[in-house]
């Protein structure tokens, strides 16, 4: 018998690789574009990818109990998956591409030697999905932790880009050292131009998580996609019709098992009737690798039976158990005091919804942190409770909120940060500044300073200067101008804290109190100004 691989499927496989590369490049391009490019308003950024994600759409809509119009794009993915199966995972998903490429590298370097027969349970991702969906019913949005778009965007924004920028900058020292001043200038110009933020408190931990996820590919090909990805699980459940069905020509098959051994997602092409269409990502590897060209994906219009959608033994009890786990985990996330009482350091980006609505919508993708021109937006660790892990929080010591900028509000994919114009944004209070007189230079050291007042961007300034007496150690009393905050004018942008020359613990600092978004965390109650009218009439 003639032994020849299928030219058609080798071409299709190449096309799939090209598609992956294309979508990954587009994703990167859009993510890099989420920055100040010279325009006050940026049009389409990487948030569009998120709108095609049915998991984020479903969980966000359910947990926030509100329809988000831009998530209509997710219906495209749903329709494609119902008709064609998980092509999204195999051909589009940028995190899937990263995993597939690293798996390929591990295979080539023999770190990964796939066994003839893989038996590990594929059910875990479905249970993870059920936990997420059940939690969403009670208003808890955990989708961002494991959703591929959120995971990748967060990892790139807060770990990979910063590390690359740091590395490039260090390399630049060498370039300058060699006397190549103009090359060095181009590199630093490029770094400034792309506004790659380099400081992230959690950058190391988040980077380690990405490395861990990639390292798992040395154990099993596309480990994440097979066992962890809740979006993949949702798409697996949706892949009902599957127009293109795997078919092995029994006359050609030599039962070598190569197809099953090298299946990226453990979909078990051989034997034919055990093929798991809900696991197949249509990477075309089996059909392209088959030494006799026995495998094909002819079109057939008949729905799959549920059992053969995944052939994954989803034990009913385990499904119920995971849903219960999702339900009962919710109260544990809510044991923190932050829902009842605002957190001191939880300064949210301008335009953020009130805290509970914010948490229900935020998918922790970190695009706002990528777009922030001052690097001030950071992934939260404990500031917002366990529910708020990796949600954005402004850390003024690292960066302040730029007065004429509303980029973070423009890139948010879910509307957790409401989109604002520059004019609207400059009216929003995100907190209030407080002078720490016991550390302030004119108050205790008896020297002039006024740096906070100088930087205050509002006009008239929210920081006023008054004569203050400093009682010095030698008994002298010195008078200089010291800062006092006018809380009605202060918007909490934090530039005063950022620029304060008292470096370790600034003598002026911002806390969340007075934020516009909260009707509890208020400072000044607006009394109806028209006193002529009787308010009780």
């Amino acid at each position: 018998m003639k032994k020849e691989r299928s030219k058609k499927y080798i071409a299709l496989q190449r096309l799939r690789v090209a598609s992956q590369a294309g979508f990954f490049a587009l994703f990167l391009y859009l993510l890099i574009g989420a920055r100040y490019t010279g325009e006050d308003y940026i049009s389409s950024t990487v948030q569009r990818f998120f709108h095609f994600d049915p998991l984020l759409a479903l969980v966000t809509i359910v947990s926030a109990r509100v329809l988000v119009a831009s998530f209509a794009f997710a219906l495209v993915t749903v329709a494609a998956t119902v008709l064609l199966g998980r092509v999204f995972c195999g051909w589009v998903c940028p995190l899937g591409s990263v995993h597939q490429f690293s798996s390929f590298a591990f295979k080539r370097t023999k770190f990964l030697r796939p066994p003839k027969e893989e038996t590990s349970s594929l059910a875990w991702k479905y249970y993870i999905l059920f936990v997420l969906l059940a939690a969403a019913l009670l208003g808890l949005n955990l989708s961002g932790t494991l959703d591929p778009f959120s995971f990748l965007t967060r990892s790139l924004s807060t770990a990979v880009f910063p590390a690359l920028a740091q590395g490039l900058s260090s390399l630049n020292g060498l370039v300058y050292g060699l006397g190549l001043v103009s090359v060095g200038r181009s590199i630093s110009h490029f770094l400034e131009d792309w506004s790659l933020n380099v400081t992230f408190i959690q950058g190391f931990a988040i980077g380690l998580m990405l490395l861990g996820a990639l390292a798992l590919n040395a154990r099993k090909e596309r480990f994440w996609c097979r066992y962890l990805c809740p979006t993949g699980a949702l798409l697996g459940l949706l892949s009902r019709l599957g127009v293109f069905k795997l078919r092995i020509d029994p006359g050609k098959c030599i039962e070598c098992g190569l197809c099953t051994q090298h299946c990226q997602t453990q979909a078990r092409p051989f034997p034919n009737d055990e093929w798991k269409s809900g696991e197949c990502v249509f990477c075309e590897t089996c059909a392209a690798i088959c030494p006799t060209g026995a495998i094909g994906f002819p079109a057939r219009f008949s729905a799959e039976k549920m059992s053969s959608v995944s052939n994954v033994a989803l034990a009913r009890r385990k499904v119920l158990l995971s849903a219960f786990l999702g339900f009962f985990s919710v109260p544990f996330f809510r044991l923190t005091p932050f829902r009842r009482r605002a957190s001191l350091k939880l300064i949210r980006p301008p335009g953020s919804l009130p805290e509970s609505g914010f948490l229900a919508k935020c998918v922790k993708c970190g695009q706002c942190m990528r777009a922030c021109p001052t690097n001030g937006l950071q992934p939260a660790l404990a500031e917002a409770g366990p529910e708020g892990l990796w949600t954005p929080v402004l850390v003024p010591k690292i960066g302040y909120c730029e007065y004429y900028c509303s980029l973070c509000t423009q890139v948010c994919p879910t509307g957790a940060i409401k989109e604002l114009t520059i004019e609207e944004k400059s009216e929003v209070k995100i907190g209030a500044a407080w002078v720490r007189k016991e550390r302030c230079i004119p108050y205790v050291l008896g020297k002039p300073c006024i740096v906070c007042e100088e930087h205050c961007p509002v006009s008239p300034k929210a920081i006023k200067l008054v004569d203050v007496e400093a009682h010095l150690a030698d008994g002298r009393v010195v008078v200089h101008k010291g800062p006092v905050v006018d809380i009605e004018l202060c918007i909490g942008c934090g530039i005063c804290e950022n620029k304060c020359p008292v470096m370790d613990e600034p003598a002026i600092f911002v806390t969340s109190v007075g934020e516009s978004r909260s009707d509890k965390n208020r400072l000044l109650l607006e009394i109806i100004p028209d006193a002529g009218d009787d308010p009780y009439r």
Binding site: Y36, R185, S188, D193, E402, E453, H455, K499
Partner: protein, 298 residues
Amino acid sequence: MKRRDFIRAAAVGGIALRWGRPLFAGQAPPPVPDLAVVEGASPYAITKEVVASLGGMSRFVGKGDRVVIKPNIGWDRTPEMAANTNPEVVKALVELAQDAGARRVIVIDNTTNQARRCYIRSGIQDAVKEAGGTMLFVDEQHRVRKMALGGTWLKEWDVVLDVIEADKVINVPIAKHHSLCQLTLGMKNWLGAIGGARNQLHQRIDEAMVDLAAFFKPALTVLDAYRILVRNGPQGGRVSDTELRETIVAGADVAAVETMGASLFGLGPKDLLFLRLAHERGLGRIDLEGLTIEKRKI
């Protein structure tokens, strides 16, 4: 473009008239003034005129020089807020330096807000690009070095290398209100040519300014008082914080330029410590009576 062409033609005409006069009338060329003050509706034209009044850019910039122009681009503000130097003023100077034979004209400032935002929104990046100059960002990590300043108070500080490597430096500040030194004019602008913890200099800001001015030694100081910031300085925030004065003051003597600039705010050397310190350090004259001042209106 038409208006711009007209202004350019007017400026060229003005220069021609000035140099043309001795030819036609047979007079001796007038002496070069210590200070030039030009008023007019176009910041671009009055900048060109002010340099012409001082005897032209070739007095300050030689052929093949590497020139650094140091405007104030400290803030993320648009030109009508008068927080940064007017972009048309910078543009005119870049062109003049190039016409005088400069090999390369670099415009740079160590900004307070994000550099990219300041460069773009001040309008200066586009203006410099149009004029054919180069805008550089300050590279705090590699292009700033601690060096001896020889100041009376500031002995050493981190200095931006791109500035001190230039053959000629032109200082182009904007006249603004400042709540610590009352005004920020020419010398204060040098805080944008250094790195490090600049906010600590406020403890003795007047001495720091004078020490820096003595160190950088600009060939020419061009003070932009086209639109001045009269309150809420040094960044303002509303157009109502500014006043339109349509004036440019220039000269090689920074103290004299600043004294003239301060008079626009109704202040003099007796009000401003940094002016008296600058005079004591021999940086220039603060008595305008003894100076030759060329005043023009176009």
